[in-house]
């Protein structure tokens, strides 16, 4: 285990393990955390895992973790690693099994007082409209040919099929389509797993949540984003479902077999990787982009289902549900970053980390360009979530990235031992939160006690100058599998 004495404090919330700490580290390892969060982080093996990431060929500047970091497999969850395109590697483990797991925020025109009388009905309607649960399929079962179009065109496909509004695309990271996607790089098995899963939430920590804007930290930016106090919004958290899981499984296996060919030695097999420009690396990148397109389309189909449910409950008086933004937090992207004073294209792995581009970045939607890209940070079930915007510090310090959530601190088993389902439901109800959950077990496993305090996580990135707090959201209804 890493000890606190091995860390150098770079600022109030940034810590570093020098490169010299381990002979095989190519760059230092950096941790964003308060002293208190750091104490928690050091209790698992996430920092050893971060040091392993620092050994990967072609890694640039530093291996970085956000304050919501926790132990994963291979890479820690909450990690960022940028790789040189010529000398560096791409690692499926640096993205995670749930490719393009991410968050979308829909904003309504209604205030809490207008929604409250029909909140129970809304929660039931959302539970009915958005299929959830383990391995559960949705209303659509696509042919492999049609699925290939989803994999290559992403949300553009959904627009053509009537599941999206033209304006939605503008407010999705990469407009919901990565152009490097190649459906032929995705296995038949992965496609079979995914063909009936569009528009489904899945289980685990995935959810649809109705929130209200509870606190405004920055009125000017909130107004530009179209957020106001007591406004009702809907948060969606899910990813690429079984299709993405299978893509990752397939390519970790491929890359493990290819390691000797490239002379790569790893401290952990789950770091399996291949040179970015190798046949295996290129093919995985094309498959990952396809799975990312599938995930964005999945959140788009869920948006369509939510809009149907909203109309069912509120009719024309419900107004429009607009996409505020959609961000990926498990992905790798080729981006332009300044390294040692030189602007270069690098492959940024984000595993449990969110892109946070600053004001004036060309990839930020034009209406938000003056304030920065919105960053959506979901809290644990029943606790606050946050909307932030990216700051210039993210480009200077973290390859345009920030945290992704509260970060798990307790195992599911421990949560089940500690939390009693009925008591949890009672507690949520007392706090005015309506719950629609398919499984009591799932509910207990996601109890707030199992997670870090999201507020302290968000405060770290705010204080570090990589993202600015705009509003806090408070849940009023939770829908999950």
């Amino acid at each position: 285990m890493v000890r606190k004495e091995q860390l150098r404090r770079l600022s109030e919330v940034v810590w570093e393990i020098p490169r010299e700490t381990r002979a095989d580290m190519r760059v230092p390892a950096r941790i964003y955390a308060t002293e208190q969060l750091l104490e928690q982080i050091l209790q698992d093996r996430s920092i050893e895992q971060l040091m392993n990431v620092a050994t990967l060929p072609g890694i640039q500047q530093a291996a970085i973790v956000m304050p919501d970091v926790h132990e994963g497999y291979g890479f820690p969850i909450g990690g960022i690693a940028a790789m040189d395109l010529e000398e560096g590697v791409i690692s499926p483990g640096g993205i995670g099994y749930d490719i393009n797991c991410g968050v979308r925020l829909l904003v309504s025109e209604l205030r809490f007082s207008e929604v409250e009388p029909r909140l129970e009905q809304l929660a039931k309607e959302l539970y009915r409209a958005v299929p959830s649960g383990v391995g559960r399929g949705g209303q659509l079962k696509l042919s492999i040919r049609e699925l290939d179009r989803v994999l290559e065109y992403g949300v553009q496909w959904a627009l053509g099929e009537g599941y999206a509004e033209e304006m939605d695309l503008e407010y999705i990271e990469s407009r919901g389509r990565l152009l490097d996607a190649d459906a032929d790089a995705v296995s038949r098995e992965a496609k079979e797993r995914g063909r009936d899963q569009l528009g489904t939430m899945g289980a685990g920590n995935h959810f649809v949540e109705v929130d209200i804007v509870d606190k405004v930290f920055d009125e000017r930016i909130a107004e530009i984003l179209g957020l106001f106090p007591k406004q009702v919004v809907v948060l969606i958290h899910t990813g690429s479902r079984g299709l993405g899981h299978q893509v990752a499984t397939d390519y970790i296996r491929t890359m493990l077999s290819a390691l000797p060919r490239y002379g790569i030695r790893l401290p952990d097999r789950e770091l399996a990787c291949a040179p970015v420009n190798s046949p295996e690396g290129k093919r995985y990148f094309a498959a990952m982009c396809a799975a990312a397109n599938f995930a964005w389309t999945n959140r788009q189909l869920i948006t369509w289902e939510i809009r149907q449910a909203w109309r069912e409950v509120f009719g024309a008086a419900g107004g429009r549900l607009r996409v505020l933004y959609d961000v990926a937090h498990n992905i790798a992207k080729i981006e332009q970053h300044t390294i040692d004073g030189v602007s270069r294209r690098v492959l940024v792995h984000r595993k449990g980390a969110t892109r946070a581009f600053p004001p004036e970045h060309p990839e930020t939607p034009a209406p938000y360009r003056q304030v920065g890209q919105p960053v959506l940070i979901p809290g644990s079930m029943g606790t606050a979530s946050y909307v932030l915007v990216g700051l210039p510090g993210s480009m200077e310090q973290t390859f345009g990235s920030t945290c992704h959530g509260a970060g798990r601190r307790m195992s599911r088993h421990a949560a089940k031992r500690q939390v009693e389902a009925e008591a949890l439901k009672r507690e949520l109800r007392m706090r005015g939160i309506v719950v629609q959950a398919g499984s009591v077990r799932g509910l207990v496993e996601e109890a707030p006690v199992a997670y870090k305090d999201v507020e302290s996580v968000v405060d770290v990135v705010h204080r570090a100058g990589i993202a600015r707090k705009v509003v806090r959201l408070r849940p009023i209804a939770v829908v999950k599998g």
């Binding site: 698992d44 926790h70 132990e71 994963g72 497999y73 291979g74 969850i77 099994y97 749930d98 649960g133 383990v134 391995g135 559960r136 098995e189 079979e192 797993r193 899945g202 289980a203 685990g204 079984g242 899981h245 299978q246 990752a248 499984t249 970790i252 296996r253 493990l256 077999s257 952990d268 097999r269 789950e270 399996a272 798990r408 601190r409 307790m410 195992s411 599911r412 088993h413 421990a414 499984s439 077990r441």
Partner: protein
């Protein structure tokens, strides 16, 4: 399919599940691992099958070594469970070597699973010799 000396146990992990398996022979170790995975997907689903074992799934795997073979084998069991929407309780090996196998799984249809296992990971996976014969720890991403 496996002797009384073979078995598995489930252990907590911060975000995932750790599966410990042991057995006197490699083949029995693989069977115990498949049963451990089934237990995660549907607790007690193989102790008390809800239907006769009429669903089957057959596959071949080649891997660089026996530990990778165990992970890849379990990944295929997981894939078969999702594709066939079935819980597989029995394994028969048609071929078996430390780097390749052909297996036939027998199980029954289920409505759904209780735990979403995203993947079987190679993280810290290692087959070791112990006083119980072969032993391995695996991390399931849930």
């Amino acid at each position: 399919m496996r002797s009384a000396a073979a078995g598995f146990s489930l252990h907590p992990h911060t975000a995932d599940i750790r599966l410990q398996v042991w057995a006197p022979t490699l083949q029995e170790l693989f069977c115990a691992a498949a049963q451990g995975l089934a237990e995660v997907l549907v607790p007690e689903g193989c102790q008390r099958p809800a239907a006769p074992l009429r669903r089957w799934y057959r596959f071949t795997v080649h891997s660089p070594d026996e530990t990778a073979l165990l992970v890849d084998f379990l990944s295929m069991v997981l894939l078969g469970s999702y594709l066939r929407r079935a819980l597989f309780c029995r394994v028969r090996f048609l071929e078996f070597s430390p780097t390749s196998l052909q297996a036939r799984l027998m199980g029954y249809s289920v409505e759904g699973f209780q735990q979403d296992v995203k993947a079987v990971t190679y993280h810290e996976a290692q087959i070791r010799l112990s006083e119980r014969g072969y032993e391995a720890w695996l991390v399931l991403d849930v």
